[in-house]
């Protein structure tokens, strides 16, 4: 993991001191709310429906066990005993007091964390594959480049007041688990014909009220040119992005309006102007950062572990967990393990302080003290020896963390919705709870297979409904909660936009509609055909007829 240098420490501590002073001045009336609001937002502090909400950055979703313990401590001491892991690999606290926020930020700074740039029109936390450095299908670990981007984008003076917020995602794997095509900039680590590492660069993706899938700007960008090229991309956007209308201010609108060819031409022209000034870091610096992400010293072990096979043959739940929640590691004899934060009937992404402490302890014991957060709101132990899987699963299961549903229908992404969020039109969490309760049958879920449901409580799309195999969008229908169903979206390498199937439903109706869609799939699927493939083959009409009846 990356470790702060003296500059990082000084920067974060200075920010805490600055915010402490700002909060004091707000509390004693020297600052008005109008003056204070942009200052608190720069430190990730929102005012929601019932309380303040603090969004803490988890850079590229990577945490140490000690950092997780600190998150648990903050939940216990300053909040109400839980935190909420988000679709941008961050954590949110729902109940902090304004006057205590500087103390929280100081506690975070003590473990090399902060809440800077988790809000506002700046470059946000860089996200990546939750299995980075721990998956067999990877060209290279993307985290050193994510860290490089973090350093470049932190407090970048030119990009602190962009037309709108800006999100970058990077993956190094063949399977896109970071939804890079739904980001303002997406980067795919790849190898060219000469065996050199570089990036495919995409731009102009985004969700919200205008969903757009990112387009390729450059097929191969050498590693050493990364920062100057990003600088050119941001500069063109910063100069020409729409500042007159916040709904048209994201880069996706600019790229759509000028066309990706023209955007690319302008980026390349800008890059030619700036690439020779020292924006890019020397190779030694990239090597220095890479060293922090060196693979852990794992002794190669056998992939055949009789105790695992034996338990799987006797216990269907463990067998399901093995199939869904563990993945192939790049080192033989190891797995990456997904800890589901989606217990049936539970709140997607929530973890109690006790659960966070337990995950930290398990990471120390089984996973090189490393933890990841996925954008699908689960936690990951990246480096677990296969021989330890039965014991680990039992400990997780006892703590309510053993649900074997990763990637299945009940592994639902849901935004906080109207239970917490001041922007929401409807609640999201109760819909997720009702669906997971309706489908609380592991045999049925295993039969249905991979199926991603994503729920947003408003058009801002924090619940990624546009990318759901089944998406659910909450809308305000004359003051009542109403839920639209969308089908056919994907956040993976085959990214696609989900399409609205028809009129919306109330909260019971939407659960029935999901069940009818699943029934069509089960009735129509071909041998081995997953839900999304079946939808793409069948088209919407078969599903529409089942959900709404023949018209």
């Amino acid at each position: 993991m990356y470790a702060y240098d003296t500059f990082d420490h000084a920067m974060v501590n200075a920010r805490v001191a600055e915010f402490r002073d700002q909060v004091e001045r707000r509390m004693n009336g020297e600052l008005t709310e109008e003056e204070f609001r942009p200052l608190r937002l720069m430190n990730g502090l929102y005012l929601q429906l019932h309380a303040y909400m603090l969004r803490v950055a988890i850079p590229y979703g990577t945490l140490s066990a000690d950092q997780m313990r600190k998150l648990a401590h903050i939940a216990r001491k300053y909040d109400k005993g839980y935190g909420h892991f988000t679709t941008r690999q961050n954590i949110q606290y729902n109940w902090p007091k304004l006057s205590e926020t500087p103390d929280i930020l100081q506690e975070l700074a003590d473990v090399e964390m902060h809440a800077v740039q988790t809000s506002g029109n700046c470059i946000r936390n860089v996200t990546t594959d939750q299995f980075a450095g721990a998956t067999a299908d990877e060209v290279a670990d993307p985290r050193p480049y994510a860290e490089l981007i973090r350093q470049w984008s932190s407090f970048h003076p030119e990009f602190s007041f962009l037309p709108r917020k800006f999100k970058i995602a990077i993956t190094g794997a063949k399977e896109d688990r970071a939804a890079i095509k739904w980001h303002d900039i997406g980067l795919v680590v790849k190898e060219n014909n000469e065996g050199e590492i570089g990036f495919e660069v995409l731009a102009g993706g985004g969700m919200g009220r205008t969903p757009v899938i990112a387009k390729t700007v450059r097929d191969f960008l050498p590693v050493q040119d990364l920062l100057s090229y990003l600088e050119a991309m941001l500069r063109v956007y910063n100069e020409q992005g729409r500042r007159d209308n916040k709904y048209k201010a994201r880069i996706k609108i600019l790229v759509e309006a000028m066309g990706v060819e023209e955007y690319t031409r302008q980026v390349e022209a800008e890059w030619e102007k700036i690439r020779h000034i020292p924006i890019d870091v020397p190779e030694e610096e990239i090597a220095r950062i890479k060293a922090f992400f060196a693979p852990p010293p794992l002794a190669v072990l056998s992939n055949d572990v009789p105790s695992v096979d034996e338990l799987a043959s006797k216990n269907f739940i463990f067998k399901s967990w093995l199939a869904n929640n563990t993945g192939a590691h790049k080192v033989p004899g190891y797995s990456n393990v997904t800890i589901s934060l989606k217990p049936h009937g539970g709140i997607p992404g929530d973890a109690s302080d006790e659960q966070m402490d337990l995950v930290a302890d398990l990471a120390d014991h089984y996973s090189q003290s490393e933890i990841r957060v996925s954008h699908e709101q689960n936690l990951i132990l990246p480096h677990v020896a296969k021989k330890d899987l039965p014991e680990l699963w039992q400990k997780l299961d006892e703590a309510g963390l053993g649900t074997p549903n990763a990637g299945l229908l009940t592994d639902i992404i849901a935004c906080p919705g109207l239970d917490y969020c001041s922007l929401a039109n409807t609640r999201s969490i109760p819909i997720a709870q009702m669906i997971t309760e309706r489908f609380d049958d592991m045999k049925r879920l295993m039969d249905i297979g991979p199926l991603k449901i994503k729920i947003s409580g408003c058009i801002n799309s924090c619940g990624h409904h546009h990318a759901g195999h089944i998406g659910i969008l909450g809308v305000d229908r004359r003051g009542a909660e109403n839920y639209q169903i969308l089908l056919g979206g994907s956040g993976a390498e085959d990214a696609s936009k989900a399409a609205i199937l028809g009129p919306g439903f109330d909260e019971n109706g939407i659960v029935d509609a999901v069940e009818k869609v699943v029934a069509v799939y089960l009735g129509e699927r071909e041998e081995g055909e997953e839900f999304l493939a079946a939808y793409r083959r069948l088209g919407p009409d078969t599903f529409k007829e089942a959900v709404y009846g023949a018209h």
Binding site: L49, H50, A51, K80, L98, N425, R427, P430
Partner: protein, 106 residues
Amino acid sequence: MAKKITGPQLILANRLDDGRAVFLTAAGEWSKQVAEAAVANNEEELTGLLSVAQAAEVSNHVVSVTPVAADVDGGAVAPAHIKFAMQSKGPSVRSDLGYQVSPNWE
């Protein structure tokens, strides 16, 4: 200047320190109980309540002062729109924590 309204209104805000949703009462205090909210039935009454609320904003007791449409049913008052109704009740989930457990939760 009087505010144009089409029905009863109440004044919702968040406390400065903890962000807790509170309602302006007829006595000019801020209550966690929507049942204690003062109801403005015409534009003049709303203007009067807003001036009290905005003074509390200036003196740093509350932020985000918002007049919201109210449903008045017999003696019971509640925000008409679901968003503000949610704000008056607390989250509908996590019934083990927060003011959804008890309306007097601090």
